[in-house]
Symmetry: D2
Subunit: 114 residues, 4 copies
């Protein structure tokens, strides 16, 4: 049988995959970044065992990308996101974070505590 | 060559398909409905020729569905959405609406005016 | 009342927005491009008034992007897609295409014929 | 530091959340179920540490739903999916499965083996 810590980490992964693939591709501009980030937080916090989701849609990086482009918006993707989550399963607390590693948005287990 | 009115209607359809398929499946509860609706509005308003998007995520229908279920949230789908949009292309204004027709969320052209 | 040609163009737009925003963000590699393209075609062809969808997931452009990256896959986005669709509403046939215009994946009405 | 088993379970969860929220809402009929299932398998198998994904899009349940409806297709959701995955991280193998529990598509850890 999987341990509570393993279950907690599985649940943490589900939330991260959900958040990323539900919202990747959403049209986003610096002006609409806040409402998108808030919807991402509140929708994923609905999922079981999810204590807290913190999403920062990086308006600085969006603005930088748009500086070189003809369009006034772009699509949400990993490099425009800083995400932290806390998951609790039974007595286990898991912290996770997404951050860019080279050109890849890496989802990471930060800590698993009983 | 397509007319301006035809172009306007094509653009209106793009917005509707985008809104629906970007956000269908999002975890939603009565408490998170407002932030989701606002993000839907602001993200689609980024798209070209889109003047205004009004989304009402129907908390009454979500609550009704959840009354019979074990979970405390559900997935966003057409019957939880009332949507109206205004599109402008050249001198043509298009109004569109999504509403349930029997069990199908029908996207409709309401008016095309030059 | 909207004309049949306007309705046909609206329907054509819905299909394009649906296809793009349902599948944008999907993990894709040269090896998985074919199955993804086929699923995109067959899923959108389910929608009303949709006669034919032709999707080419551009393995050449995916391979080119991956040449510079640490990952072995990327996310589906507009520059990896060539799409053509035919829509029929009442007696009107509409042809549409998506192609890159500068750095933006432009969805275009090609022809509207009664 | 998280153990290899915890990392493996986290990775397994990511794949499940990704698969579900990338493809939920896709138009699907009995005729298009096979191509959709195959695209889901091949796209998620691109992700790191993912050994095998097996998706059965349940044409029997889709047909049953459509029997009562006016439309000839529906949207992909959990009750139309049987999914099994194998993940390998370092020396740990994880098996996962999604199945309906009452009305909720529960994603489960089946085994964690070193």
């Amino acid at each position: 049988m999987p341990t509570d810590a393993e279950q907690a980490c599985f649940e943490a992964g589900i939330k991260f995959g959900s958040l990323y693939h539900q919202f990747a591709g959403t049209p986003v501009s610096p002006a609409s970044a806040d409402s998108l980030g808030r919807a991402m937080e509140e929708s994923i916090e609905n999922q079981p065992h999810c204590v807290d989701v913190d999403v920062d849609v990086r308006t600085d990086r969006i603005a930088e990308e748009l500086a070189d482009r003809s369009a006034e918006y772009t699509e949400l993707t990993g490099r425009f996101l800083d995400v932290e989550m806390r998951i609790r399963y039974a007595d286990v607390s898991v912290r996770t974070r997404m951050e860019m590693e080279d050109d890849y948005p890496l989802m990471k287990l930060v800590s698993v505590e009983e």
